[in-house]
């Protein structure tokens, strides 16, 4: 299984991931997911931007570990993950994930599995920027 990932300053884009996965003639299906900045995150409706920070070395290591776990569950051909770092604004993509397989069923299940794992363990940190302040997410005050 081919696994590629990268962090990109500014918004993520589907182009890079699609290019990485486009040259395998055994792939009958390519499925994409993009996560976008929305205004009503975290019980507020005045989000104007997000600021992402990552631990780059561990980002790559955790993506690889998740991919290894996916290989045991799904018949995948490839996985491409691109995540934003720095500041992005409303409507821009924070993450773009592409998976390919011989058949569509594996791609739907694998993509959901990957996103669940990404949100639980991949070291990316998010600060919401509001019209009148900002807050790192995830701390229990």
């Amino acid at each position: 299984m081919k696994v590629v990932c990268r962090l990109v300053e500014g918004p993520a884009s589907g182009d890079w991931g699609r290019r990485q996965l486009s040259v395998n003639h055994n792939a009958g299906c390519m499925l994409e997911f993009s996560g976008q900045v929305r205004a009503n995150n975290n019980q507020r409706n005045d989000v104007v931007a997000l600021h992402y920070q990552a631990y780059p070395e561990m980002f790559a290591a955790e993506v690889q570990k998740i991919a290894t776990e996916m290989q045991g569950q799904f018949e995948l051909i490839a996985l491409a993950v691109e995540h934003s770092v720095g500041e992005i604004t409303l409507g821009q993509d924070a993450v773009h994930v592409v998976v390919s397989a011989a058949h569509r069923r594996d791609t739907f299940a694998a993509l959901e599995f990957f996103m669940m794992q990404l949100k639980q363990r991949v070291p990316i940190f998010k600060k919401e920027i509001y019209s009148n302040g900002e807050q790192w997410l995830g701390q229990q005050d």
């Binding site: 631990y55 561990m58 993450v95 949100k119 940190f125 790192w136 701390q139």
Partner: protein, 79 residues
């Protein structure tokens, strides 16, 4: 042993630094590290974070080595 501890997100802002320098006796565990962090950086005491060593999440019993890469990982929020 002299250890460098990487910080991210809110932890970085609370300490006004991207890393901490700590000196611990050999041998020391992650539990010993957390005790030293709480004593020297009280602003981190009530914050939520996990510890990673060499890019793997570890628990308090994990034995630290002189040249390992340590990071305090606040709640992750990718996607």
């Amino acid at each position: 042993m002299n250890l460098t501890v990487k910080l991210f997100g809110e932890l970085q802002e609370l300490c006004e630094n991207s890393s901490l320098q700590l000196q611990l006796p050999t041998p020391s565990s992650v539990g010993d590290l957390l005790l030293a962090v709480s004593e020297r950086y009280p602003q981190l005491v009530k914050r939520t974070f996990r510890v990673a060593v060499d890019c793997n999440y570890v628990d308090k019993s994990f034995a630290l080595q002189q040249h390992c890469e340590i990071a305090l990982i606040p709640p992750v929020c990718g996607g």
